[in-house]
């Protein structure tokens, strides 16, 4: 056992070409510039973080609130500048750390806008803080030649690969459900909506196409990490990555996610691949000097990395600790690579009652929420509860009483008949927002 552990540590410490990491850094930085500028140009800073009067904060992060409008725009300008610095490798540690903090701050403001790829960018940028991505082809290594390196410990290359592998593999595991495999859901709903898509759109009306794409998607997610890791299958696997993500970007409104994955999976190509490519296109790349026998890593970094991956391995599985179908209850749904698994629609109407009189109020959430907030909260129990608590505070002032709040909810989920998601007659004012299983969620009626 000790010998095997030693062998593992030795293999993680062996020197590898830094080139893939440098290319990864540049690709990541460029994509973040594109993503942040696109976000600003679409007016989303104002729409998501300035306009709403209420924000659905994450449990334990209620203190994370948007800054004043000008500052909020400043945060995004800052993110764009930091992305440039990351791409060119300037003040790298400071840039990537600040990027991680600012990006994560923005994501924590409102869970309405939770997207798997935003979470991926947060965790990847956290990981990048400890990776020596500025030791070559970087302003930092140009200004401080002593940090310049051609070799880095192998774990620095394996870590982002493992992270990507986890994303894909867990996304594949999450697809192993009766809905996905036996019902071809939700693709069976989404594909016909794209039937006017040029050339191949006509096929989307066929149910078998939805099944084929569901099974192919699951197979892709489960296997692609391994196929990219094996050098012999890597070129083919990467061409599948490009084809798969181009298809999703054309069919679905998933923004930069496909481009993030296409760019980040480049990390699977090692130094030999890049040098071969450079040779093929007649680019001059200086030959590699002799490699050192072993490169050391600080024990603290090693422990941090292990903790990071332990978290990454366990976090997506936390839904197993909750009763019921997590795709219905949403317990443990986020931060778990549950990508494109559900089509849910809902309506929520609150009834607020003054227990000491016959007074009551009926509240449609969009009186306070933006369209997107209303749409997202209408089928997510934790958000329905959060907004109920907001209404308690609002109406306690208005009615000078301790109001009771009831939610009249109906949710359609992956073609099942619409059904209440919150137990009727539950006074949500009395229900705590916590990690505990939520007994006030109606079980899914199949």
């Amino acid at each position: 056992m000790r010998q095997q552990l030693n062998a593992l540590f030795n293999s993680l410490s062996k020197p590898v070409d830094i080139l893939p990491l440098v290319i990864f850094r540049v690709a990541f930085g460029l994509l973040m510039i594109f993503s942040t500028v696109r976000f600003m140009l679409n007016g989303w800073v104002h729409e998501f973080y300035v306009e709403p009067v209420y924000h659905f904060t994450y449990l334990g992060f209620a203190w994370v609130q948007p800054l004043p409008p000008l500052w909020m725009h400043g945060v995004f300008v800052g993110l764009a500048i930091l992305s440039v610095l990351i791409a060119v490798g300037a003040f790298y540690r400071l840039s990537i750390t600040t990027f991680f903090l600012l990006f994560t701050y923005v994501e924590l403001i409102d869970k309405t806008y939770y997207l798997n790829h935003y979470y991926f960018i947060s965790v990847m940028s956290l990981l990048m803080i400890v990776l020596p991505l500025h030791r070559k082809w970087a302003v930092d290594s140009w200004l401080s030649p002593h940090i310049k390196a051609d070799y880095v410990p192998a774990w620095t290359l394996y870590a982002p690969r493992l992270m990507l592998g986890i994303v894909y593999f867990y996304a594949g595991l999450a697809k192993l459900t009766p809905d996905w495999l036996l019902g071809a859901l939700p693709l069976r709903i989404w594909l016909p909506a794209n039937a006017t898509f040029p050339v191949i759109g006509k096929w989307f009306d066929y149910v078998w196409v939805a099944y084929a794409m569901s099974w192919a998607g699951a197979l892709y997610d489960l296997s692609i990490g391994f196929l990219l890791s094996w050098r012999r299958t890597r070129p083919l696997a990467y061409s599948v990555v490009i084809g798969f993500h181009l298809m999703t970007t054309l069919l679905f409104n998933i923004g930069v996610f496909p481009w993030v994955m296409i760019a980040c999976t480049l990390i699977f190509f090692d130094g030999r691949d890049w040098r071969w490519l450079a040779q093929a296109v007649k680019l001059h790349v200086s030959p590699m000097p002799d490699a050192p026998k072993k490169l050391s890593t600080s024990p603290l970094i090693a422990i941090l990395i292990m903790c990071f991956f332990l978290w990454q391995l366990l976090m997506p599985l936390r839904h197993l600790a909750y009763p019921g179908n997590h795709l219905w209850t949403n317990e443990g749904y986020r931060f778990a690579w549950h990508v494109m698994l559900v089509e849910k629609n809902g309506t929520v109407i609150y009834r607020i009652e003054d227990p000491d009189s016959e007074r009551f109020w009926v509240v449609f959430p969009d009186a306070y929420l933006t369209r997107q907030q209303e749409q997202q909260m209408s089928f997510q129990p934790d958000m329905i509860l959060q907004f109920a608590h907001f209404l308690v505070d609002e109406y306690a002032v208005q009615c000078e009483c301790q109001p009771e709040v009831y939610a009249d909810t109906y949710v359609s989920f992956n073609r099942r008949a619409g059904q209440p998601i919150i137990l009727p007659n539950t006074d949500l004012a009395n229900e705590a927002y916590s990690w505990q299983p939520r007994s006030w969620i109606m079980p899914l009626h199949e």
């Binding site: 709903i189 909506a193 039937a195 066929y206 923004g255 089509e343 016959e358 109020w361």
Partner: protein, 366 residues
């Protein structure tokens, strides 16, 4: 070498995929649904005729108003009031097509609440002189349109006040002309080949992943129309924003007492939009094609049944709604509940089957 290897593999895999799918394609006739024909049918067979009817009613309203201005009799006022109601109903039947792009026109016709104070102050300040038409052209949307006309024609002592004031009669005529002009503009916008909104709307369906996809736009507007019935036009007068204390003055048409008939017109328009009015494939056909069901029956039938039930319930309300919300609160609340069931059906179940949530967000989604 490497890039050519890559590209060969990529082309080969695409070819294999293409051939496999071709081989696997069923040999029977194509069974996909012609969405473009559906959207074109909705425009040419439903939207345009409804807008033409509205324009015709608006023209008759204008003519009747001019006649009343010249010959102010009770008989002519009765005729004018009836023409107003006909126009209102025709306008309400265009409500599922009040898309965002057309809202600048629509708000010129209907903006709640009307600014009665301005109207009275303005007429008083001008009398007995005629209204300056250039100035009238700059009236804000709350100072004109159907809600102001509702007040001028149906408020207490309307006949006396109209008889006594030529300026007031002219104000009425000016408003009817404005409504007719906008009705004509809306017809132009929906006329295909005129480079108006109708052409853009049909073209929108070519971009299936876009928020502007025609199916998405239309579904969302149907949801808005249905939602307004319980939420605004029944819920607010029932006092849902006022601790359950009825607010009779907040009904849609407090003077003409046509609140209920307007809601019925809205729902009839939704029903026409879903079922279609011609030979083209309809929205209902599309839902059937998708296999959309609700409690074991086709969703198109469930929606139709729920619209029928809501209209039937609305017909049980005795106008004026302003009195009904006070004296028959339970009855109006029952209609509220029926219309809420309809809202759930279209907002949740219909949208679900159409898969429009993936095109609903302005943000990215996964």
């Amino acid at each position: 070498m490497f890039s050519s290897y890559l590209s060969r593999i990529f082309v080969f895999s695409l070819l294999t995929l293409f051939i496999s799918i071709q081989l696997a394609m069923p040999t029977q006739a194509q069974t996909s649904f012609d969405r473009v024909a559906m959207i074109e049918g909705i425009v040419t067979e439903t939207v345009l005729p409804l807008h033409r009817t509205f324009a015709e009613e608006a023209l008759t309203l204008e003519t009747t108003a001019i006649a009343f201005e010249a010959d102010t009799t009770e008989e002519n006022l009765v005729a004018l009031r009836q023409m107003y109601i006909n126009t209102v109903i025709a306008f309400e039947r265009t409500s599922p097509f009040h898309f965002q792009r057309l809202m600048p026109y629509v708000t010129q016709i209907e903006r709640h609440p009307p600014n009665i104070e301005f109207v009275e102050t303005y007429i008083a300040s001008v009398e007995p002189d005629p209204i300056d038409l250039e100035l009238a052209a700059r009236f804000g949307s709350a100072q004109k349109g159907l809600p102001v006309l509702d007040y001028l024609l149906f408020a207490d002592d309307a006949l006396t006040r109209l008889t006594d004031s030529a300026t007031r009669r002219q104000y009425v005529s000016i408003l009817t002309t404005g409504i007719r002009q906008i009705a004509d503009t809306l017809v132009d916008e929906w006329t295909l080949g005129a480079d108006g909104y109708g052409d853009q709307f049909i073209a929108a369906d070519d971009d299936p992943s876009s928020v502007r996809s025609a199916v998405s736009i239309l579904s969302n507007e149907i949801i808005v129309v249905v939602e307004f019935v319980p939420r605004i036009w029944l819920g607010i007068p029932l006092g849902h924003r006022h601790g359950g204390e009825p607010q009779p003055e907040l009904v849609e048409a407090p003077y003409s007492t046509t609140s209920v008939v307007r809601l019925i017109a809205n729902l009839e328009a939704v029903q026409m939009t879903i079922n279609g009015t011609g030979d083209s494939p309809s929205f209902a056909d599309y839902l059937d094609f998708l296999g959309a069901e609700h409690n074991g029956e086709p969703m198109s039938e469930a929606i139709n049944a729920q619209i029928d039930a809501t209209i039937a319930d609305l017909n049980t309300i005795e106008e004026p709604l302003a009195i009904a919300v006070v004296e028959d609160t339970d009855g109006v609340t029952a209609v509220f509940d029926t219309s809420l069931a309809l809202l759930r059906l279209v907002k949740r179940d219909m949208a679900h089957e159409l898969g429009i949530t993936v095109t609903f967000n302005s943000n990215d989604g996964d």
